[in-house]
């Protein structure tokens, strides 16, 4: 074997060294660099916290697999949906741009706590358990619905009729917590428990129903309505929405300046009618309730 045959491994080593050097250098540099984006002052009327103002961007963590609240426009990397419109409005009011970083819902609070974003807007229910970790600025109330196979073969119309049957939910959601609690209640009444099956993504949970792995899907009413609209031959609604709970924008507890600014922006959105426009645009009038 002649030395020239050894070029592939030798080349690899050089690439690696370059990578390591770049990695070390990059870490230090990035700490010093601040991204400067042009500030769009159009419609700005709320004082943004200094750090956001200097960054020029309000970064939201969002699980962008959740139509009609947040999803990508087909074939693009542009997010769209009611939450996207709401987040964009809030940023505009502060005179900065909005950015939505796609983050899995089960890791979304961790991402906020790790300061990978400034706030979460992801149809997130404001719950006492989550309030232990983050602060919420509520903006809507959302009910929860059972979605069933079209024709409702399992005859599901609410909690009582789901006893002893299987329901799919997305992991880390209040939907799952609610079903678990109701299941215990049913058992205490001497009825059969609900078989709660959890999935990493909401769409996976809905797909489990479509493929007949469960008897019902349990999720937020707007999302269930969206699925049914998309695929009416597979899905139907099971009963009326239950247990409406507020959804809010999650912000770090320590970030009181941003909490105040977002609160102002949300009341402005209610006052100037933008909220109605957004709800009408995404056909959410029936599925959600306004706060007041």
């Amino acid at each position: 074997m002649s030395p020239s045959r050894l070029t592939p491994p030798a080349g690899a080593v050089i690439v690696l060294l370059a990578l390591i050097v770049a990695g070390c250098g990059g870490g230090k540099k990035s700490a010093a660099t601040t991204t400067a984006t042009t500030t769009s002052a159009g419609g700005a009327s709320i004082q943004a916290p200094a750090s956001i103002k200097s960054a020029g961007t309000l970064v939201f963590c969002s699980d962008i697999t959740y139509p009609p609240e947040e999803s990508y426009k087909p074939g693009t990397t542009t997010p769209e949906g009611s939450d996207i419109d709401i987040g964009t409005y809030i940023a505009q009011k502060m005179g900065v741009k909005a950015r939505f970083d796609n983050t899995g819902f089960d890791g979304i609070i961790a991402a906020l706590l790790a300061k990978k974003c400034d706030a979460i807007i992801s149809g997130m229910n404001d719950t006492p358990a989550r309030r232990k970790q983050v602060a919420f600025v509520d903006y809507l109330k959302v009910g929860q619905s059972f979605m069933v196979k079209s024709g409702n073969p399992a005859k599901i119309a609410g909690i009582a009729s789901i006893a002893g049957k299987a329901a799919s939910v997305e992991t880390g959601t209040t939907n799952k917590d609610y079903l678990d609690a109701q299941s215990k209640k049913l058992q205490a009444q001497g009825k059969k428990a609900i078989k709660v099956v959890t999935f990493p993504k909401d769409t996976d949970a809905a797909n489990a129903l479509k493929t007949g792995k469960v008897d019902a899907y349990f999720g937020d009413a707007p999302v269930a309505a969206y699925y049914i609209e998309k695929d009416p031959s597979s899905f139907a609604i099971g009963g009326t929405p239950i247990n409406p709970i507020p959804i809010g924008i999650a912000i770090l507890k320590s970030d009181t300046a941003l909490q105040a600014a977002v609160k102002q922006a949300v009341s402005a959105m209610y006052a100037d009618g933008t909220m109605d426009t957004i709800l009408a645009r995404w056909k959410l009038n029936k599925a959600v309730a306004k706060l007041k």
Binding site: M1, R5, L6, P8, P9, A12, V13, V15, L16, L19, I20, A22, G23, G25, G26, G27, K29, S30, A31, T33, T35, V59, C61, I64, T65, Y66, P67, S71, Y72, P74, G75, T76, T77, D101, N102, T103, G104, G107, A110, A111, L113, A114, K115, K116, C117, K201, D202, T203, A206, N207, K210, Y227, K230, D231
Partner: protein
């Protein structure tokens, strides 16, 4: 006939991929290539540490393998990206990492680090086995010619060990391309993440997952051809009993036919 399959979606995903998809494909490629490269470097360092006469180095090498081969890679990805902030309150990996010439998405960088560190623990064993497979006499002969240990390692043992390392390394990289889909968890939209996002808006999992399976198959097929070429070069000294380039291609696509050969 498959019931209700929307062929036009599958068709479009395979023959007319849009730029979002191409970007996702590119992410999968660079994340797996860089993570694998990092894994080989770390594996080599750890393998050499394991053979050290100095026991703390051997211990560290063992600890590294124990931790990173013994815990799920998705947990490692989580801790690399979020860990420092959540545990110690400082940012180890910012939202975007500036390399001077270009900036990289912080999550993608964290993914590469985590996958690379994890891969290193597997590569250590592969590289060690490769070094062990080189006849001991080779090192002894080099030493008796007056070569210092390091030089003998670099010029005599490691080049020969490479021949034993490349086939399992190829397997590892093949795996890496598919494992890299785990970085979707921290928000990197790679090949699989792109499929999930599309499926979540269209509600057509079968079409999008079939298409993404096809693209992974393309990636792994291309790699198996590249790997065959590398192996062919490395066995130049024993040419004659190994498969030719085209035989390898045929082999990859028609394994049954290849059984007849001594492959």
């Amino acid at each position: 006939m498959v019931a209700g399959l929307e062929w036009h979606i599958l068709w479009q995903r395979i023959f007319h991929p849009d730029h979002v998809f191409v970007l996702a494909l590119w992410r999968t490629i660079y994340i797996s290539v860089l993570a694998q490269t990092l894994g080989v470097v770390l594996g080599l360092i750890a393998a050499l540490m394991r053979m050290s006469k100095f026991w703390p180095l051997r211990f560290l090498s063992g600890l590294y393998v124990l931790i990173f081969r013994g815990t799920p890679v998705i947990v490692q990805i989580f801790f690399v990206y979020f860990g420092a902030n959540l545990l110690f309150g400082f940012t180890l990996i910012p939202r975007s990492v500036n390399f001077g010439l270009f900036t990289m998405d912080g999550a993608a960088f964290a993914g590469i680090l985590a996958l690379g560190i994890n891969e290193g623990s597997y590569m250590r064993e592969i590289i060690r086995a490769g070094i062990d497979a080189v006849d001991r006499g080779q090192l002894e002969a080099a030493r008796s010619l007056g070569m210092p240990y390091r030089l003998a390692m670099r010029r005599i043992v490691l080049p020969q060990a490479t021949r034993f390392i490349i086939p399992p390394l190829g397997n590892e990289f093949n795996n890496m391309m598919k494992t890299s889909s785990l970085v979707f968890f921290i928000g990197v939209t790679e090949l699989f993440g792109d499929a999930e996002i599309r499926y979540s808006t269209t509600f057509k999992p079968v079409e999008y997952f079939l298409a993404v399976a096809f693209w992974y198959l393309v990636l792994t097929s291309v790699w198996s051809v590249i790997q065959a070429q590398i192996e062919r070069r490395l066995t130049a000294s024993e040419r004659g009993d190994e498969l030719s380039f085209w035989e390898r291609v045929v082999h990859a696509w028609a394994p049954v036919a290849a059984w007849g050969r001594r492959a």
